[in-house]
Amino acid sequence: MDLYVQVLVSGLLLGGVYALISIGLNLIFGVVRIINFAHGEMVMLSMYLTFWLNHLYGLDPYLSVIIVLPVMFVFGVMFQRLVVQPILTTSATMKIFTTVGISLLLQNLALIFWKGDFRTVRTSYSMSSLEVLDIIISVPRLVAFGTALLSIIILYAFLKYTYVGKALRAIVEDHSVARLMGVGVEKHYWFAFGLGTMFTALGGVLLVPFSSVYPTVGVPFTLLAFVVVVLGGLGSMSGTFLAGLFIGCVESFGGTFVSPGLKEAIYFAIFILVLLVRPQGLFGKGKGTEEVGLK
């Protein structure tokens, strides 16, 4: 019995970070309608940034958000302006391949500048853990989970109560209706991109205390984030959060009780199955899906 609870806790903690990284994708994908295959590289860049701030200036990873988040926001905006803007009117294929190219570019620039070494940041809390009723809870993972939860609540409030947030939500639901309602759809792209990148970067920062940094560290996150977004439902923040936790638990339970080597396979299979049976996602309302290719 203890084992089940332990596996559950471990899965939930993992899922928190997944949710955070995926929320960023959901914003970008939902608003700009682009499949960004370089999403994992944004995680990678923010991790490197955190690492270097720590390595060169001794800045604590958690404190480094003051610098990493604004920098990555600007990076996201630049990415939108320079890379995404020019290809907005082209087909989905072209968008996919542009971002695949960018992903290849960023990974290998990282390799050139920072080499293939596995770099880690070691802090006093890196490997500390709490023990509650025989259940072990890793401190940095708990912090990551708590921060993820908190920032998702903040994002939720932002989307719900501010004008810009409402506009973003309208765009996610339906581009043409938003346009009819007088929302300048394209005007919000850069902001959505910046904001999405910032949340993704926060996920990256929170990973650093317990995960190595290397050029290809972001690769698994790209597909993972898409799985979470699709399961959670496009445009649904709470759905993405739940889906993130769900995938974390699938990974944890599948890895423990089926086979560690098959844990990704299990959630990919669930992903395909969900696309088949319920393309609007497990928790989604099915809005805006028509435009991006779901029937």
């Binding site: 596996v7 290809t216 944890s252």
Partner: protein
């Protein structure tokens, strides 16, 4: 536009055809095939550095059979790239032999090419057993095999660890956690077979994907299996992750690594003092009894001079040693790389253990395998990877951390 395109296409095809010009040779050109891009780039390059130092030293001393050694470098970033690169090195660069490769799967693909062309292949670092069991007459390997690694691990467990716990080998419970590429799988298989043959209980085998960011499920499974020791076969990233999560999730059994992932400096950097006590079986590392490894000090100095930093793992040393063996063999054939002459010279080599920078002896079997090369058991102690077993090579006695 259309004309330009047709022109462009023709030029591409022409380049493909004629770009492959021949290469003049007063030099001795050898192919140096390592993964220097892609996922294995780090240790691939580290391996190449060892061979490169051997080449520089040898050239300074007048080369091999009076010829200057030149490396034609190839990038075996993937197994199929290894195959392409082997073709290119042999056909375009006209190399008469290839050395390399660090990665077993790259070696397998590349040496299939050379075997069919009757070109000699020297493996200096990849450990998969199958490399020298295919029966190719042109395949030579200077470093120990996966089976040798397992032998060392089983030996350590039965001779030192079991008595320490006050158990008989048959009472020992061992788990294996391995990354699931060919490297981890074949090494784990080899260990599992040898351990069972020695009467040790293998209580669980846990394969996992090396590029994962969470190994808690592996730890949970290991906790459930409750072994006395966990043998891990890992690359760099997963070695760190496994050790970190084992500590975090309070896995009782000590870890014993197998090869590169656990001996690279970044492992100790990442774990800090929690790395203390982690065991590993690997090629010869730098904290070793110098009586056993003549020439190691000089190598370290050369390394520092050439690359302006300390070696990142023992891979460079193993390749340095191996390249020297190769150069000696070629010296004896008078610079010829004819497979028959190489065979004659190679089979004549007989060096007892404790006479090379890695401490390995050299004696080739019919299948091309050096049977006198043995990996050593090391342990992280205060941020240094010290050799602890066997006694002849050790600088400290092993400990078991509580």
């Amino acid at each position: 536009m259309r004309k330009a395109l047709i022109l462009g296409l023709s030029i591409t095809l022409l380049l493909t055809t004629f770009g492959a010009g021949a290469f003049g040779a007063e030099k001795l050109e050898l192919g140096a095939l390592y993964p220097i891009s892609g996922g294995l780039a780090l240790l691939g390059e580290e391996s190449w550095r060892g061979a490169e130092i051997a080449r520089l030293v040898r050239n300074e001393a007048g080369g091999v059979a009076g010829k200057e050694i030149v490396f034609a470098q190839g990038d075996a970033s993937t197994p199929s790239a290894a195959r392409s690169e082997a073709e290119r090195l042999v056909e375009q660069k006209k190399v008469a032999a290839i050395l390399g490769t660090y990665s077993s799967s790259r070696c397998m693909a590349a040496s299939e090419v050379t075997a069919r062309k009757g070109i000699v292949y020297f493996e200096l670092g990849a450990i998969a057993n199958s490399i020298t069991t295919r029966g190719y007459k042109t395949m030579w390997r200077t470093n120990p095999t996966a089976a040798d690694f397992s032998k060392a691990q089983v030996g350590f467990i039965t001779d030192w660890y079991a008595p320490k716990l006050g158990k008989k080998p048959a009472e020992m419970r061992v788990s294996i956690a391995h990354e699931d590429s060919d490297y981890g799988t074949s090494v784990a298989d080899s260990f599992s077979n040898l351990a069972k043959a020695a009467g040790i209980q293998v209580v669980s085998v846990e394969p996992y994907a090396a590029n994962t960011n969470d190994l808690s499920s592996v730890i949970f499974r290991l906790r459930k299996a409750d072994p006395d020791i966990v043998v891990a076969v890992s690359y760099a990233n997963d070695a760190i992750l496994l050790a970190r999560q084992a500590y975090e999730l309070k896995l009782k059994a000590p870890l014993m690594g197998t090869g590169g992932g656990h001996s690279i400096q970044s492992f100790a950097d990442a774990l800090g003092k929690e790395a203390d006590g982690v065991l590993n079986v690997d090629f010869t590392q730098y904290e070793v009894n110098e009586q056993f490894t003549p020439g190691l000090k000089e190598f370290l100095a050369l390394y520092k001079k050439t690359f302006n930093e300390d070696p990142r793992s023992g891979h460079s040393l193993a390749n340095f040693m191996g390249a020297n063996v190769v150069f000696d063999i070629i010296e004896k054939t008078g610079g010829s790389l004819d497979p028959e002459k190489i065979r004659e010279a190679a089979m004549a080599v007989d060096i007892a253990p404790g006479n090379t920078p890695t401490g390995w002896g050299v004696k080739f079997e019919e299948n091309g395998q050096n049977v006198m090369a043995t990996p050593l058991v090391t342990q992280w102690r205060d941020g240094k990877l010290v050799t602890v077993w066997p006694e002849s090579a050790s600088v400290m006695a092993p400990i078991i951390r509580e």
